[in-house]
Amino acid sequence: MHVFPFVVVAWILAVGLYGIVTSRHLVHQIVCLIVVQSSTYVLLLGVGYRTGAVAPYFFDIPGRTPAVDPVVQALALTDVVVEAAVTALLLAFAVQAHKRFGTLDPQELVQLKG
């Protein structure tokens, strides 16, 4: 359990990148980008975790109870919003690209090169 969550993080990152690189469909590629980003959530919450501690809410528990790190949770929330925003924008691009190119294969979405 010492490093296992972090190994999973590296695995998710690598798998997501593999998906982006081998993708033949833009929507598939965007989903793979979501997977890449999900590795950062697991990493963030993983580094802020403390064994046996409670969630950082002190409504009905005493203020001195050991709690996990609230900061990484705030960062992860920001991260989720960024994910939603970037994905929405990319999907709009994809819809337009499909209209203009008639395909969503990144290899054929080539207007410019060189």
Binding site: M1, H2, V3, F4, P5, F6, V7, V9, A10, W11, L13, A14, L17, Y18, V21, T22, G46, V47, G48, Y49, R50, T51, A55, P56, Y57, F58, F59, G63, A67, V68, D69, P70, V71, V72, Q73, A74, L77, T78, V80, V81, V82, A84, A85, V86, A88, L89, L91, A92, F93, V95, Q96, K99, Q107
Partner: protein, 251 residues
Amino acid sequence: MTPALRRWIFLAGAAGLVAFYLWGLVGLPGFGDYPGPYGDIINRIAVGQTNATGVVSAVNFEYRGIDTVGEEFILFVAAAGVSVVLRHLRSEREREALDEAREAPPTSDAVRYVALILTGPIVVFGWWLASHAQTSPSGGFQGGVVLTTAFVLIYLAGQFLAFQRISPTDLTEAVEAVGAGGFAAVGVGAVALGLAYLTNFLPLGSTPGGVFSSGTIALISFFVGIEVAAAFVLIVGELVEQTLLVREGTK
């Protein structure tokens, strides 16, 4: 580059990247041993300083409030970008097609009733989340997204026309801008009083955890809630409109 060649180059690179990444990750203190001090300090002082018992909201809206301002504007930009990119699709002819498409909602009755029944509770739930940022695991963002879901249910329940009635685009845009701008403006309130930007200048309330406790945190959470709900409604609305357009085109 052929796909096969690309895959091999990638696999070589990824093997190196993962090895390198793991070399760094094994240097972490180990899972479950968060070393502090940032989070521990916040956990110790937050309830006393802000009267918010939900410390994550206190971090989001107060200690690291400027981050959240940036974050809300990222969403704001995304909604604007989606509008820019998709609105160019609509020529006049397509607009007419769209008006016709609105007449024919392809939803089954069962789905409609279920959706209609769910809408009320979801609005209430979303509102509760957005207004309890300071006490419990919730906040403007989650509340806003839940509110969006309510709009989508209305869409399922009725028809696209109703969706348009609930959220005429201009109004939604204005609400979104007011949400994002309102958050930024709450911060300016502190500047006007000679305090640092985003300083919590409202009374904190007498008991930690009350709905109106924690001063600006509750206010900011409210603005975030409407900003998020409006932004997602805009994004979903644009995509729904696109889908309807083509549906009409294939008939």
